[in-house]
């Protein structure tokens, strides 16, 4: 970075927002605090990724000051996995999604706290409100992180996006009592990478000048949209770093990887035109599968429908949502799509009720037509606390909820294939149970 740094580098004090050009200093000339961020493009960058530091753990530490200097792990009971580990716990090698027993072995002294999702959601909303007071262009990625586009807010706030972001970080610290890290750049991919550079309580910039050199050593998996499968394909082709991609022409990438080639080419050069999409509510959650050979029989189709219902239920749970309308989707062997929907009496988050509705819709369609695809979706969404209230004549719901929770915990612990319900198992005697009349 140093060699490309022109003399008009901007310096910003993260504490008092004092901004100056030219001369580097160890501390702010105005307030004498040492937290200075500097970058040649500092006043021109506007797209930020903002991420709370060890969010769940930070909230718990805020609420119980005696935890401040102790390793804290947020995670479910003995069987669960680590949801968040505080920075002290991370020094023991504890990471998110690590099985709990391993985390305990790494750090027997850690304080383990069961997640209070309701509380985190509440705090997440308060934080989002702070974000939205700085710019209307906020795209939440999860409960505790978001993209913010501060382009065009200079006139309104009478300060640059970088200054606004420092003010934002300070406001979150003061009002919520936790710290955040900011990545500032000119597009979403780089902003997201930047926020990881200087955690916790960090502030990092990636400018246009340095984008290519910054990306070159990074693994191709860092590119947005390159998942495990694409990564494998690229590795097979001998492409491991983004720098490898930068050496290849766009035509060549297109020839070898099709449409993805265009994206790889652009991203490898720090080009990412995706706009910040403001909180567009999720409208529906669905899952579908295409069969290897077409299916016609109701029981066979049901067997495919059950795991999809479980997937949808799991996604609803993960997003803390529930839904009232169940939609069945079918595609015939001759590629005709059809959908059938049913609205439930109560919003649900449970695979059982999704399956019952979808399979009863399926009954009318399984008339011998060969189908190549089946899908199920849930719409009419609401927040998770409205899920499955249970009615006077429907006291089973509680039992079913517990059953699905236990299944889910077993799967988190032992893997997705560790356990299945009879519905998912093929065989002559163990066909799917017919849906019960609701």
């Amino acid at each position: 970075m140093a060699d490309t740094e022109p003399t008009d580098t901007a310096y910003l004090c993260r504490d008092c927002l004092h901004l100056w050009h030219g001369e580097a200093r160890r501390e702010c000339p105005r307030c004498h605090e040492p937290r200075i961020v500097s970058h040649p493009e500092l006043t021109r960058l506007h797209l930020a990724h903002v991420d709370c530091d060890a969010f769940f753990a930070a909230i718990e530490k805020r609420d119980d000051p005696s935890l401040a200097h102790r390793p804290v792990i947020i995670g479910g009971g003995r069987r669960g996995v680590v949801a968040t580990a505080c920075y002290i716990a991370r020094q023991y090698g504890i990471r998110s999604a690590m099985p709990m027993f391993r985390a305990r072995r790494l750090c027997p002294d850690a304080v383990v706290i069961k997640p209070d999702i309701e509380k985190y959601r509440r705090e997440g909303r308060r934080i989002r409100l702070i974000f939205e007071s700085f710019t209307p262009a906020v795209e939440p990625l999860s409960i505790d992180e978001a993209f913010l586009d501060l382009g065009g807010t200079e006139r309104y706030h009478h300060r640059s996006p970088a200054q606004s972001l420092c003010a934002l970080a300070r406001q979150v610290e003061e009002e919520i009592g936790i710290t955040i890290s900011v990545g500032l750049s000119y597009n979403k991919s780089l902003a997201k990478m930047a926020s990881d550079l200087d955690k916790p309580r960090g502030f990092a910039c990636i400018g246009r000048q340095e984008a290519r050199s910054f990306l070159a050593p990074r693994p191709v998996g860092d590119i947005w949209g390159v998942g495990k499968a694409s990564e494998k394909t690229l590795h097979r082709e001998g492409i491991r770093t983004i720098g490898d991609l930068q050496q290849i022409s766009e035509e060549e990438l297109f020839r070898r990887f099709g449409q993805m080639g265009h994206r790889l080419h652009a991203f490898a050069r720090g080009i990412d035109e995706r706009p910040v999409k403001t909180a567009r509510e999720t409208k529906s959650i669905s899952a579908e599968t295409t069969f290897e050979t077409d299916l016609r029989r109701y029981d066979e189709l049901c067997r495919a429908l059950w795991p999809l219902s479980e997937t949808v239920a799991r996604r609803l749970r993960q997003n803390d949502l529930c839904g009232r309308t169940v939609t069945l989707k079918l595609k015939t062997a001759s590629f005709q799509s059809l959908t059938r929907a049913r609205t439930l009496e109560d919003p649900t988050q449970l695979a059982e009720y999704i399956f019952r509705a979808a399979s009863s819709l399926l009954k009318a369609e399984a008339d011998g037509t060969p189908y190549r695809l089946i899908g199920v979706g849930v719409s009419h969404l609401d927040s998770g606390d409205k899920a499955d209230p249970g009615g006077l004549f429907d006291r089973d719901r509680q039992r079913i909820r517990i059953r699905e929770q236990v299944l889910e915990e077993i799967r988190e612990r032992f893997g997705r294939d560790a356990i299945a319900t009879g519905r998912a198992i093929s065989g002559k005697r163990r066909g799917p149970t017919p849906p019960k009349k609701d």
Binding site: D382, P389, L392
Partner: protein
């Protein structure tokens, strides 16, 4: 057919029958009202194939006969005619039109032949009895708010009327539920109702009947089988199909052993619930009741709007508890309480609660709590 009738009598009658006619009809004849004149009276009949209403009214008949005319149009015309007008209905021409004359107004309405009008089944209704209109009003008013509108649970889309015994007394009960709340009201069993089958009286027919008997003070003659019911009173006959389904065994969801009792002034309670629920979200309308000896704290929270709290003096003994309810359900029930107090019989925050009138009114309500 040719007749003359006083405008206000015609308006009342058409008002009664036209409301059963659906605004949108795929079968044209169902948009029409059947008008049949003869013997010093004219009768108007409307139906949606499930419900039919026939009402007769005295008229000056010049020529007996019958025709059918668009119900809503005819009603709108009569509604706009000046009070006190004499209305002449004339279908004697051979152009298939109904001519309506009043003062200087003249309307021609296209008609459909009387023969196209569906004939209403006059099958055997073996169970007959009489009951006072005010008792029927009572059954309807205290239960109809709990009727389910969920079409998949069609068997809950009405009031379940049946006769049974309670503590040695013969009673007739009306029960309605949507799965979240249940209302049950009972009256002394009308003579002749013994042995009648349990029937599910559908929601739309409940609404029509309630309108028709709003200011009727006499007795209703009821006749029913297990798939039809007919109410005759004054000059009106309402007949309806019944819901073909099995009403669930509701008695098992009525809690009988809830150990905690809270009693509170019903009007003050309703007003406080109404105020606090201003804050709760549109979809859930949840209010929380925190109950302690002598004191009830109502509260509501909405992530978008803020919060509300209100306290009320109550009579309550035992350990404090918290429970959440849909505020609309609470208001529906509180609106039916006749005595000063409303009484809650509670067990815990997850179990159904029983709600009743401070003094026995024959009505009880069961409410499923909400998570708050």
């Amino acid at each position: 057919m040719k007749l003359t009738i006083e405008r206000s009598a015609l308006l009342t009658t058409l008002g009664h029958v036209q409301s059963v006619v659906e605004r949108r009809n795929t079968i044209p004849i169902l948009s029409n009202v059947l008008i049949r004149a003869g013997n010093g009276a004219v009768s108007f009949t409307a139906t949606d194939l499930d419900i039919s209403i026939v009402e007769s009214v005295d008229a000056d008949i010049a020529m007996p006969g019958a025709t059918t005319a668009p119900a809503h149009t005819l009603y709108d015309i009569v509604r706009k005619l000046p009070d006190g007008a004499q209305v002449e209905l004339d279908a004697s021409g051979d152009d298939g039109r109904l001519v309506l004359r009043a003062g200087r107004s003249r309307f021609q309405l296209s008609c459909l032949p009387e023969g196209d009008f569906p004939s209403l089944s006059e099958d055997d209704l073996p169970h007959t009895f009489e009951m006072p209109a005010d008792e029927m009003r009572r059954i309807i008013d205290k239960t109809r708010f709990a009727i389910s509108t969920e079409e998949t649970r069609y068997y809950l889309n009405g009031i379940y009327l049946h006769e049974t015994e309670q503590d040695g007394f013969a009673v007739m009960r009306g029960v309605a539920t949507d799965g979240h709340r249940l209302a049950r009201v009972q009256i002394p069993r009308p003579t002749g109702a013994e042995g009648m089958p349990g029937i599910i009286f559908p929601r739309k027919a409940v609404g029509e009947l309630r309108k028709l008997i709003d200011d009727f003070d006499g007795a209703l003659a009821v006749a029913c089988s297990d798939n039809r019911i007919r109410f005759s009173f004054g000059q009106v006959v309402l007949a309806s199909k019944l819901i073909d389904g099995t009403f669930p065994d509701y008695e098992r969801v009525i809690p009988t052993a809830n150990s905690l009792t809270m009693e509170v002034d019903a009007k003050l309670f309703a007003k406080a619930v109404d105020r606090v629920s201003t804050i709760s979200t549109e979809k859930s309308r949840a209010v929380k009741l925190a109950i302690a000896p002598g004191n009830l704290t109502l509260s509501a929270n909405s992530p978008d709007q803020g919060s509300a709290v209100e306290e009320l003096p109550v009579s309550f003994e035992g350990e404090g508890m918290e429970i959440g309810f849909n505020s609309k359900y609470l208001l529906d029930i509180a609106g039916q309480i006749e005595s000063e107090n409303i009484r809650f019989r509670l067990e815990d925050g997850n179990s159904p609660s029983l709600v009743e009138d401070g003094e026995d009114s024959g009505a009880i309500y069961v409410l499923m709590p909400m998570r708050v």
